[in-house]
């Protein structure tokens, strides 16, 4: 009787191993962060979160001062009324950070205000959708 190839066993064990690591990592070690838009942010939210929004004018202060860089984010879709105030401390925001730019701010909510520790500015758009035709 021909012996069965160990290949299937190796494949099955490897797949099972990978799945096990996935589960372990995402269940125990994984530190996923909720990503919300300003309209989804609940003032009671605790812990680390990321907020995706468009930077509103005006910008106050700078990120290295005690009072930090202060600005607000509005919903990226523009159709929802949400707004989140941000106080950002840390390294200088990326160069493309400016009013009207879509950004992702990561931090924690304190008194309804997002204490930001990291800002990601989206890269210059290469694939913007065409404007809606009249």
């Amino acid at each position: 009787m021909p012996t069965r190839s160990p290949a299937r066993l190796v494949v099955a064990l490897a797949v099972a191993g990978v799945l096990a690591v996935f589960l372990l990592y995402t269940a125990i070690a994984g530190s996923s962060t909720p990503t919300l838009t300003p309209s989804q942010v609940n003032p009671q939210t605790t812990g680390k979160l990321s907020v995706v929004g468009i930077v509103l004018a005006p910008l106050h202060g700078d990120s290295h001062s005690a009072r930090g860089l202060r600005f607000a984010l509005k919903d990226p879709t523009g159709s929802k009324p949400g707004r989140v105030d941000v106080v950002y401390h840390g390294t200088t925001p990326p160069p493309l950070f400016k009013v009207g730019r879509s950004v992702v701010v990561t931090g924690t909510l304190r008194g309804g205000r997002l204490a930001g520790t990291d800002i990601l500015t989206k890269c210059p758009s290469k694939y913007t959708a065409a404007p809606t035709k009249a």
């Binding site: 962060t33 919300l36 990120s63």
Partner: protein
């Protein structure tokens, strides 16, 4: 002109649909004249797409702002090369480029194999035409680059950081890679549909896969270098969904390139290869869906667009179709031989494949995680860099080790003692390197130390192989010329080692310090002293340029300028970093200056020291060299393959 472009795309759509329907009917009923007609329709679809592409290119060069696309992505001040690069700077143009490359690749692949693999190409035509019909449909009905308007005086312009030679080459290279994966996919599906599941489809598409894989790999490195020198955050890869979208099909294609060798030699892994080639193709389309649909947040601001749903539907339909055809032909995909031992070259290739696919699926899981959590918990959650870094180490380091073991281990089976004897020299070299690295202080990062020592092991095995081979043939040139595929592969392995050393060095052993500097104040970072000599501001025709003048003393001595530009059209800011490369010390001094205040002469300076980062870019050159060697036509190998596959053709 726009009407001509639109008409050309409608013709492409019509020809593709005809090639799909007529080609499938001809292949099914074995009608040679109809098959020839379908093939001609596919060739003509390339010609009509070329007309559409020429219309768009002419409009871009002529600054014809009556084209909405031209007005949105260029302005009058743009140099011709950058105006042309706007072809792939927007969604509609990049889709047209995709269609152009697809019809071009498809026509060439079908034309070259029209006689030798007639039964296979009969099915390749409708498969490629089906993919082309989808892209032509999207361009005709959903997202056309030929929409017109009353021409404004000037266009919106191209963002300054995209006006860079890298961005002229990087996107088309990625497209040549993404789209190139359609050819092996089409041949694989054709082999299943025709029932000719021998190794001919692999032989016919080996070079196509290698070309696509090379473009995809080199294109990513170009993008990484652009991010490093132009975007100005000090890094080169951010594990962003858009970046991952290019990495995933490359990893799947890497696994495929390795596993086809086992099928060619041993007739094993037939189902696995079909799955891999389908996975690589589907991931290349899935990447487009992810980046264009807006379902995941990316630092690349790919806005929501109407094509997302169409791409999702295409991925679902084509994946189900591929799966159904593989399951249907499962009885024809039985292995000729079996894996005899877990300690053999075949087994090493299998482990390598499993690790590559595991890494690929892990990245896919990370990309899809926000969508999954949105569906399950009603809230998007993202997983960041630590997740990806963890799995890169978990799967990447064993992969590196296998890259050294694989070429030295015997086919069929070997004993542990025999393997130890073969590996004695490389292991001794590795141990000596490891000890030297610890003595030099590399033990401060365990993953870095492991990556370095494994890299030394791989390099030692490559050198051992070259020395042994040269002794046998008497000439290194003769050795490489006799087996270009094998030794080209070793050169690519050397490139991966350089990449691993560069990534480990720059991420595990670098320094990063930020300070506020008043006029005359200094900061010291890793042997460099940086002193603020003032802040200047000047206005040019394009931008307001603000610069910090900084004196550097230490391993590099001299004056550097770093700061930012505020451009007028479009009104965007851009970081202008100072990078000083010391090749003798193999490190970069990378300086970012921000919040520059010309009145107070105060500046925030971030100094990064990045050891060995330039090996990543050197790896790109070595990678190209290795791919070129592997791709170079080898008459002897062709004769060998032709002789071996002759019975299958009969």
């Amino acid at each position: 002109m726009a009407e001509l472009g639109r008409a050309a795309l409608v013709v492409t759509l019509g020809l593709s649909v005809y090639a799909l329907v007529a080609g499938a009917a001809a292949a099914r009923r074995n009608r040679r004249r109809l098959a020839s007609s379908a093939r001609n329709a596919l060739l003509c679809s390339f010609a009509s797409t070329l007309v559409a592409a020429a219309v768009l290119a002419a409009a871009l060069v002529r600054h014809d702002f009556s084209f909405v696309y031209v007005a949105q992505h260029t302005d009058r001040s743009l140099r011709t090369a950058y105006a042309l690069s706007a072809f792939w700077g927007g969604q509609e143009g990049s889709l047209l480029l995709w269609l152009l490359v697809l019809t071009g690749y498809g026509s060439l692949a079908v034309y070259l194999n029209r006689r030798l693999l007639r039964d296979l190409t009969a099915w390749v035509v409708p498969v490629l035409a089906g993919i082309g019909a989808f892209f032509a449909f999207v361009l005709v009905a959903v997202s056309s680059p030929f929409d017109t308007q009353t021409a404004p005086l000037d266009g919106a312009g191209l963002v300054a950081s995209l006006q860079n030679p890298y961005m002229v080459a990087h996107p088309p290279m990625l497209y040549l890679g993404y789209v190139g994966l359609s050819v092996p996919f089409a041949f694989a599906v054709a082999s299943l549909l025709s029932g000719r599941t021998d190794e001919r489809w692999i032989v016919a598409t080996r070079r196509w896969t290698l070309v696509a894989w090379t473009f995809l790999g080199f294109g990513q490195l170009l993008g990484a270098h652009w991010a490093y020198v132009e975007v100005g955050w000090g890094g080169y890869y951010a594990w962003d969904p858009v970046e991952n979208a290019a990495l995933m099909p490359w990893l799947a294609a890497t696994a495929f390139l390795h596993s086809v060798m086992i099928q060619e030699r041993k007739g094993m892994l037939k189902v696995w290869n079909m799955v891999l080639v389908a996975l690589a193709f589907e991931l290349s389309v899935l990447g487009t869906f992810l980046t264009r649909s807006g379902v995941v947040n990316s630092i690349h601001s790919f806005s929501q667009s109407p094509i997302g749903g169409w791409f999702l539907a295409f991925v679902v339909v084509s994946s189900l179709f591929s799966l159904a055809v593989i399951l249907w032909r499962l009885p024809l995909l039985k292995a000729r031989t079996r894996l005899e031992s877990a300690l053999s070259r075949e087994a090493t290739f299998l482990y390598n494949n499993l690790l590559l696919v595991a890494l690929c699926l892990t990245i896919l899981w990370g990309v899809l995680f926000p969508i999954v959590t949105q569906l399950v918990k009603g809230e998007q959650r993202t997983i960041g860099r630590p997740y990806y870094d963890f799995f890169l180490r978990a799967f990447g380091l064993p992969l590196l080790l296998l890259m050294g073991i694989g070429p030295l281990i015997a086919w069929r089976k070997t004993s542990v003692r025999s393997l130890m004897r073969t590996l004695a020299w490389p292991v001794a070299v590795t141990a000596a390197c490891g000890a030297a690295l610890v003595a030099l202080g590399a033990g401060s990062s365990r993953p870095g130390l492991i990556a370095y020592t494994f890299s030394a092991f791989v390099l030692a095995t490559i050198v051992l192989e070259l020395v042994r081979g040269t002794r046998a043939t008497g000439s290194l040139f003769e050795l490489v010329a006799r087996n270009r595929r094998r030794y080209g592969g070793y050169v690519v392995h050397a490139a991966v080692v350089l990449l691993a050393i560069g990534v480990a060095g720059s991420s595990a052993y670098g320094a990063n310090v930020e300070r506020r500097l008043t006029l005359g104040q200094s900061m010291t970072v890793d042997g460099y002293t940086v002193t603020n000599r003032g802040v200047t501001r000047r206005t040019t025709s394009r931008a307001v340029e603000t610069r910090a003048i900084l004196d550097v003393r230490g391993r590099y001595t001299g004056r550097i300028e770093a700061g930012s530009n505020q451009f007028f059209n479009p009104p965007e800011g851009a970081q202008e970093v100072a990078i000083k490369t010391s090749w003798s010390r193999a490190q970069d001094l990378y300086v970012i200056a921000d919040e520059l205040h010309p009145k107070t002469q105060v500046v925030y300076v971030q100094v990064l020291v990045k050891p060995l980062v330039n090996l990543i870019w050197v790896a790109g050159i070595v990678f190209l060299l290795g791919s070129a060697v592997a791709l170079w036509p080898d008459a002897r190998e062709q004769r060998r393959l032709a002789a071996r596959l002759a019975p299958a053709r009969a």
